[in-house]
Symmetry: C2
Subunit: 582 residues, 2 copies
């Protein structure tokens, strides 16, 4: 049995704190089915992930949603019924390439129409590659309402997993706001601007502690440890084994760092791609990323150890999330006391050198495909905070993205006129921009930010960070690309210059689907536009995307097969489909 | 200038409390345009109707929405853009019959598909009859989110208003919850059931005082009177004039009573129909009703007087709403002090004799069309509170209404199979039901509650009240019929019996679109099914409708002209429209 949140919650909990046993070693518990047919229903429910009750978006009454287990090459079919009273919904399968099924990417108004209340949409796609993935809402800010869960893809039946381990532990990390997402969305779109602030809690597999400072220096009394519902999760392990920790971040805002007392971690996978193993005391993880870390349970039998998850990159006002790693002793019992040591303290929030050091260590495992030697096109995307008529936005090359009522996949596939703002976005922002200072003219405009990419061409994108509206502020942005993995060719400080191309890592550039830009820096990625469809590329911070921080990449549209009608039954594509009747 | 909330808010407010001047006497300020073309946008905004901030659903940035002024026979065109981030929306034009335009009735999943975010639907209808109307959301519980406003229809150009008055004052009454409607909806659909409780405030034209007990016996200090935003509205009047107060209730839950210190009211109109004038010290008004009351400003020049609005039928936990009637003195100044007298105390909440006395006084004005002598069909609707698998519901003849994903108007007009539960509801609940006791078997089922009514037939409906789930509880329910006025033929106590037909008032039965049933009583209505379309008939209490308290009447469907595609571009009608295309 793998440790998944739904199992954790379903299990009888014998005593404080809550315990979960890891029983599976080395083998998946899945049957060898080729197609996984799932019936899901999205609805609201009351839940208290951090012992403060609020509405959450649940799937089949579960928060987080059910974990999907598949093998590479399997087909996943999710019949998703929307049982929200008045809202549309979609689900994005983060990290799945959707080869041949771009309409199943689950991006509202990009790949499909929102699913209407009381209607059902069928997502059918192939789990193309073994790895650690997740899924989440991709409409409005529904991800932040709790609409997410895990998608674990094992190697093909009969194929040998390259990584050696005895057991798996999944840790789905998220941040949690007590304010509802409507208030958040309206606040972000208001004048004066209302920032959502820092989250109230961090959650591990949907559970956390609000207003609990256990991992700082105020001790256990501050924490609501008596309430089983939000007591730290206990990961039960056997001594002298190797565990694969699958660590995934679907935070709305927070960048995170995870550390385990007395245990080093060896990073072996990032975003579904094997990496050259390296060992660390703590690891960073940004929203949209996933990692596998191996740990060896080499401590004393009958010991236990804190796991801390803390905030990076923003002055942390949110207490760390905690879990406990508990060893089985010789009497087949687990340590019941809290660990004697204090929880590990994650690095200082603004120790960017530490974060960069971690990111720079991520390099491709051997056997990873190498990037093409050169790119056909270079797109430089300047990330700026701007204003439109006093409303605060994020922009790329001075255009803040808004989505049209007709999904791009349909309007492009059927060449519908007037379905979106046709103004082509620029590949470059000009040489004179000073990325170290607030914008001289902060005013911006909205647009579709739709880049048409030549099919099968190789594209480099330079994500260029800059100073935000306030002096001496430049934020971390984790950018996520749909429909592809990309190679991370390198990072740099300040303004990217042509000569930096010579520094690109073409030898062992890691494949990822999410890459971070550090304050005032740039990150270079390369990908091959070989997947017909319309793909979002955006900052994975939910409020930033809501404020326009994204672009759309369209490639090989003429090769997209007939789109299921349910995916395009809105806007101008609906009108087109109806045109032959009545 | 008429006193409407948007003008009130738009005006410079010279000093405490806020003042509005009535300048128009006897004549409408409207031009004689035949078509009123309006561009509206529904969006969320932050507002503090009772000085507590929350999200409200606004139209063009106004709460309540803009007041529509039209003349009988005019055409109203509202291009409604949905600018909510993820929710559908519709607007119902309460009291407008929608003759020939049933798709413009604005009932989600009954007359039309919800308007999708970022899309626009055009409501085009005739203001068929002079009277006092309003409009409001009719999807989920969006009315309770603040989506409402006034629709005032004056007599035809050149025609003489039967009622004589010198000026008009509009009072749109509502109740106000601080909890968001999602939490309310989910709570009502939860097990255990979570009742929404009593509202925090009552609002007059969108303004009120939270936690203010001015109208009880605790004095002004408890009230936040310094805050102009929610200070009592001041109605400025000239002495020795007659004013038409248009009083409308769009409450979510509360039944109300309105009283004006030192002024009697003469009721002259109910739900857009003239009534035989009668004079009262205070008046009841239920959700969904509208009245015109004439007052004569016969008090001393330079005096002012409290107007109180209190809760009826439920133990009032909500403080009364207040307004001030202020006279112009001989120096052309208005009284600035608060009235010296305490606000009038509205009748005790459970003085049902008082309420019945008021309702029984409402009789048709002469010249009102008389009801047909007899009905072709008698439908008895037993109103019961029930349970389904432990969830609490309201039912009619033991079936709780749920709406299908395809609007009835389309699925019936195009005879689509399988679009809704085809089980026909019953016209009678049986003779053995004891309306004085909780249901012996509280279990119920859901259904479409669709009554197919023969075109042009005359139908009697007996709304039969009963005991709720708890002993000794029977609630007031104001029932509203779409697409028609009906005659209120009479009221009775206990179980309706066939012999009660002989007591029906066929002489001067008032025409209404909303009628109340009193605890443990019945109310008989009669209407002619002469309006092709699909019409909701339901309890106007928002949480009761959400819990299934309604039926659907379908009549003359074959006479409905081609339905605009935008009204049926969802569910099975969308599939039908798309069927002819690849």
């Amino acid at each position: 049995m793998q440790l998944t949140s739904e199992k954790r919650r379903a299990m009888p909990i014998p005593m404080f704190p809550c315990f979960v046993t890891l029983l599976v070693f080395g083998f998946s518990s899945l049957a060898s089915a080729e197609t996984h047919h799932l019936h899901w229903e999205v609805s609201y429910m009351f839940a208290s992930p951090d012992c403060q009750e609020k509405l959450v978006m649940a799937i089949n009454g579960q928060f987080p949603g059910p974990t999907i287990h598949a093998k590479a090459g399997d087909t996943v079919v999710v019949e998703l019924k929307n049982s929200l009273p008045t809202e549309g919904v979609v689900i994005h399968w983060h990290g799945i390439k959707q080869i041949g099924t771009p309409w199943a990417d689950g991006t509202a108004l990009i790949s499909q129409c929102p699913i209407k209340p009381d209607e059902t949409f069928v997502y059918k796609f192939q789990a193309d590659k073994a790895g650690t993935y997740f899924y989440h809402g991709h409409y409005g800010m529904q991800r932040a309402a709790g609409l997410y869960g895990l998608l674990i893809v094992d190697v093909k039946e009969g194929e040998k997993e390259k990584i050696k381990y005895d057991g798996e532990i999944n840790m789905l990390l998220s941040d949690w706001y007590h304010q509802d997402i409507y208030t958040q969305m309206v606040g972000l779109s208001s004048k004066p601007f209302r920032w959502i602030g820092e989250p109230q809690s961090l959650l591990i597999n949907g559970g956390g502690q609000f207003n609990c400072s256990l991992a700082t220096n105020q001790g256990i009394n501050k924490c609501n440890m008596e309430n089983m519902q939000c007591a730290p999760m206990v990961l039960q392990v056997l001594p002298n084994k190797t565990y694969r920790l699958r660590i995934i971040s679907t935070t709305s805002l927070s960048s995170l760092n995870l550390a385990i007392g007395n245990h080093k971690m060896t990073i072996v996978e990032a975003d579904g791609n094997y990496v050259d193993p390296f060992t660390v005391d703590d690891m960073d993880i940004y929203s949209g990323e996933s990692y596998s870390a191996l740990i060896t349970t080499d401590q004393h039998v009958s010991s236990n150890h804190w796991i801390s998850v803390g905030v990076r990159g923003r002055q942390p006002k949110t207490p760390p999330a905690l879990a406990i790693l508990s060893y089985l002793n010789n009497n087949s019992q687990y340590q019941l006391e809290l660990p004697k040591a204090t929880p590990p303290i994650t690095p200082l929030w603004n120790d960017y050198a530490h974060s960069k050091s971690f990111s720079y260590k991520i390099l491709a495992a051997k056997d990873t495909p190498k990037p093409p030697k050169r790119a056909d096109r270079l797109i430089q995307l300047l990330n700026t905070q701007n204003k439109i008529d006093g409303f605060i936005k994020w922009s790329l090359n001075n255009v803040s993205m808004v989505l049209p009522p007709t999904p791009y996949l349909g309007s492009l596939r059927y060449s519908l006129k007037g379905a979106f703002d046709q103004k082509k976005p620029r590949d470059w922002f000009g040489a004179n921009y000073n990325v170290m200072k607030p914008p001289i003219n902060p005013n911006t405009t909205t647009g579709s930010n739709l880049y048409e990419i030549k099919f099968n061409s190789t594209v480099d994108i330079i994500l260029q960070n800059a100073n935000a509206l306030a002096e001496n502020v430049s934020e971390i942005h984790p950018w996520h690309l749909h429909g592809h993995d990309f190679w991370v060719l390198g990072y740099g400080e300040g303004l990217f210059r042509k000569k930096d191309v010579s520094r690109f890592n073409l030898k062992n550039a890691p494949l990822r689907n999410t890459a971070v830009i550090f304050p005032y820096g740039w990150t270079a990625i390369r990908f091959v536009a070989d997947n017909p469809g319309v793909w979002a590329f955006h900052c994975h911070i939910e409020p930033h995307l809501h404020m326009g921080m994204g672009v759309i990449l369209a490639e090989g549209i003429e090769l997209v097969k007939e789109i299921p009608k349910d995916a395009i039954s809105c806007g101008k594509t609906a009108k087109m489909l109806m045109n032959n009747h009545g």
